[in-house]
């Protein structure tokens, strides 16, 4: 509360005050003014551009010059996509790794989130939150390059695996992508789970223990269902970020992902194909988000 001079109503109300009174009388107008800005922006900038993207998937490309002719309708892009099974292979591979990364991150995130939420002292907890957030501030590209250094021939990974007599990963293994993705998105999974676990009242867990349940059962029957929406919230990011990424597969492996196809085609002269293929991750994520919302994830974001 500030201690300025009180604003007393004057004999003739100011324009601001008259507007405020009018707004009070018409809450509908107030709502529309509030929503107008954000929704207008979203509609024009975001959904408008998504719509143009959708349209551009149906535009033809001149066969020789490669120039895209806007509004010259053609199904060529879709024919190319459906006719070549490599696009299906790539889609399956991407979705598979995205799911694997999500599960991996959930498993890794849980112990540390639990520690932060329930076992750590308040000071340690604050420190750990900062510690988990910090890697997010390291430039994304640089983290990937650090992993390249680790995974490349004669790098630390080679040296470590050499101890066990195993060959080094090299820079073309698909598992490299899984590893680096899991690393990159881990904080996005830790934080929502931490928030979700924090919200579970201690009394519930104590009651469960009092009633004779062992750790495993308490976990399965009490903790997991309660923290599930938070898990789903975190999974939105791990899944979606993996689904569209092209930089990680480019730099640490030789396998192509959905993002690679979109980026390569938009950059190598086939924007309609890129647009058509982009419809796939959009569809997947819209469905994923709808399911996630059902499961209550949006409250845990």
């Amino acid at each position: 509360m500030t201690t300025e001079a009180p604003v007393l109503p004057t004999a003739t109300p100011t324009r601001g005050r008259r507007f405020a009174t009018w707004l009070y009388a018409y809450p509908g107008a107030q709502l529309r003014l509030l929503l107008g800005g954000p929704l207008g922006w979203m509609a024009l900038v975001y959904f408008g551009s998504l719509f143009v993207l959708l349209l551009s998937a149906f535009w033809a490309k001149d066969a020789f010059t490669g120039l895209v002719v806007p509004f010259d309708w053609s199904l060529a892009a879709f024919e190319a996509l459906l006719g070549n099974e490599v696009y299906r292979t790539i889609a399956v591979r991407t979705i598979g790794i995205a799911a694997l990364v999500t599960v991996t991150d959930a498993i890794i995130a849980f112990p540390i989130a639990y520690y932060m939420a329930r076992l750590a002292s308040p000071r340690l907890r604050a420190l750990l939150v900062v510690a988990v957030l910090m890697p997010l501030w390291a430039a994304y590209l640089v983290k990937i390059y650090a992993w390249r250094t680790i995974l490349q021939g004669n790098g630390p990974a080679d040296w470590l695996l050499g101890f066990f007599g195993l060959p080094g990963p090299g820079l073309d293994a698909l598992t490299n992508s899984w590893l680096v993705f899991s690393y990159l998105w881990l904080p996005y999974m830790i934080l929502p789970i931490y928030a979700g676990l924090e919200r579970i009242p201690n009394s519930l867990l104590e009651a469960s223990a009092d009633l004779g349940a062992r750790a495993g059962m308490t976990f399965r029957r009490i903790v997991l269902p309660l923290v599930f929406p938070a898990l789903v919230a975190g999974s939105i990011f791990t899944f979606s970020l993996t689904l569209g990424d092209y930089i990680v597969p480019d730099l640490v492996s030789d396998a192509k992902f959905i993002g690679n196809v979109i980026y390569d085609n938009s950059n190598l002269g086939n924007p309609p194909l890129a647009a058509a293929y982009a419809l796939l991750p959009i569809a997947i994520m819209v469905v994923y988000l709808a399911v996630a919302r059902r499961l209550g994830a949006f409250e845990s974001l």
Binding site: K61, D62, A63, F64, T65, G66, L67, V68, A80, N84, V86, Y87, T89, I90, R148, Q152, G153, N154, G155, G170, L171, D172, D250, D254, K256, N260, V261, D264, S266, N267, L268, G269, N270
Partner: protein, 388 residues
């Protein structure tokens, strides 16, 4: 008599004027004006250096100081990337290879060049003027930057017997499984076709860029075998350099540029050669966008890049052949024997180099009966090869 003389004179003058003024091809700059202050270029990496890699090699800052055109560059990964970037309309010029030039010219994306406005053009080697990939009906669509072959590079410690043919990256690659480094672009299919010209002559391949369905399929088979042998694909030259340095790869296809950098660094010992079957290569042209926002700056740049200092410096740095005797002279001061080494005046040498060209449906020949696999199909096939 007097009353007739002046109109007659006018008629004569008019006729003379009409005869002398040849209609300029549309889009050509007529007059050079003031620099616009900015220049946006698409380049091959290493083509516009400002001393960041090696301090002495800077031909951009002197240009900026002299013309006031601040240079912004975007490096392309391959010609398909370059064409796509150029089509966006946001750039003034590009250093295009032969597999980009045709598409750009046909698409009206680049404008013909008025060589009268470029004083340094007359110095350029005659053998580099009027080449089919950058000239249409005698009208030049760009100015040459340099040319060179794609080379076979190997790690001298890992590959003890210096290879002399491309065999080592194809059928002979078994010893180096997973350690072969090849260019990640659809144009590399031509290298497979080139190898087939030597190993499977009954396929009848005349031109590695214009292939029939059957020849194309054979090339793809060869590439699939290479992929299954664990080939590593380099998209940017630094990928290849770090892979060689780390020991991930020991043999592969490269540009002299990477060889120079690796030898300069010295962490691994490499050597490179032009194999006996010949090789693919490139002859690069600076082209100006038809809708260039800064045409004057672009013309100044084109002239600058044909000057002895700039061209000499640039070609020594990258490891390609200079474009004029003056550039050769200057190059000698930076790297003795450079012109000899790059065969700058040796046209016979370049007869065994197949410059990057655009695959065309009509096979780019006069024979109407033949049809060849198109550029789009090349890109599709490459996507399939890499994506599987």
């Amino acid at each position: 008599m007097r009353t007739l003389r002046i109109p007659a004179l006018m008629v004569v003058l008019g006729l003379v004027a009409a005869a002398c003024a040849s209609p300029a091809p549309s889009g050509m700059l007529e007059q050079l004006g003031e620099g616009e202050g900015e220049l946006n270029l698409i380049i091959w990496p290493g083509y516009a250096e400002r001393g960041e890699i090696v301090e002495a090699f800077d031909w951009v800052t002197p240009f900026e100081d002299e013309t006031g055109c601040i240079v912004n560059t975007t490096a392309m990964t391959d010609s398909n990337n370059g064409v796509s970037l150029m089509q966006s309309g946001e750039y003034d010029g590009i250093s295009a290879s032969g597999d980009a030039t045709t598409r750009l010219i046909q698409g009206g994306v680049v404008a013909p060049v008025n060589t009268a406005l470029l004083p340094n053009y007359e110095d350029v080697f005659e053998g580099l003027k009027g080449l089919p990939h950058n000239t249409v009906d005698g009208v030049p669509y760009g100015v040459p930057h340099g040319r060179g072959p794609n080379l076979l590079v190997w790690n001298t410690d890992a590959v003890t017997a210096p290879p002399t043919t491309w065999d080592v990256v194809w059928e002979g690659g078994g010893d180096y499984e997973g350690q072969i480094s090849v260019y990640d672009s659809s144009i590399y299919i031509a290298d497979a076709a080139l190898h087939l010209m030597a190993t499977q002559p009954d396929l009848g391949i005349q031109n590695p860029y214009q292939l029939s369905e059957e020849q194309f399929a054979a090339a793809i088979d060869l590439l699939e075998a290479q992929r299954d042998n664990g080939a590593q694909y380099w998209g940017t030259y630094t990928d290849q350099i770090t892979s060689f340095t780390a020991g991930d790869v020991v043999v592969g296809t490269t540009w002299q540029f990477q060889v120079n950098l690796l030898q300069g660094d010295g962490t691994v010992s490499v050597d490179a050669t032009l194999p006996e079957e010949g090789s693919t290569g490139w002859s690069d042209t600076w082209m100006i966008a038809a809708e260039a926002a800064n045409p004057n700056c672009m013309y100044m740049w084109m002239n600058h890049m044909m000057s002895a200092e700039a061209n000499g410096m640039a070609t020594v740095f990258f490891g390609e052949a200079p474009t004029s005797p003056q550039a050769c002279e200057f190059a000698e001061t930076l790297s003795s024997g450079h012109c000899e080494l790059t065969h700058a005046t040796d046209e016979a040498y370049y007869d065994q180099i197949w410059y990057w060209s655009t695959p065309q449906e009509d096979c780019a020949d006069d024979d109407d009966a033949t049809t060849c696999v198109t550029q789009d199909d090349w890109v599709d096939a490459w996507t399939t090869l890499r994506g599987a």
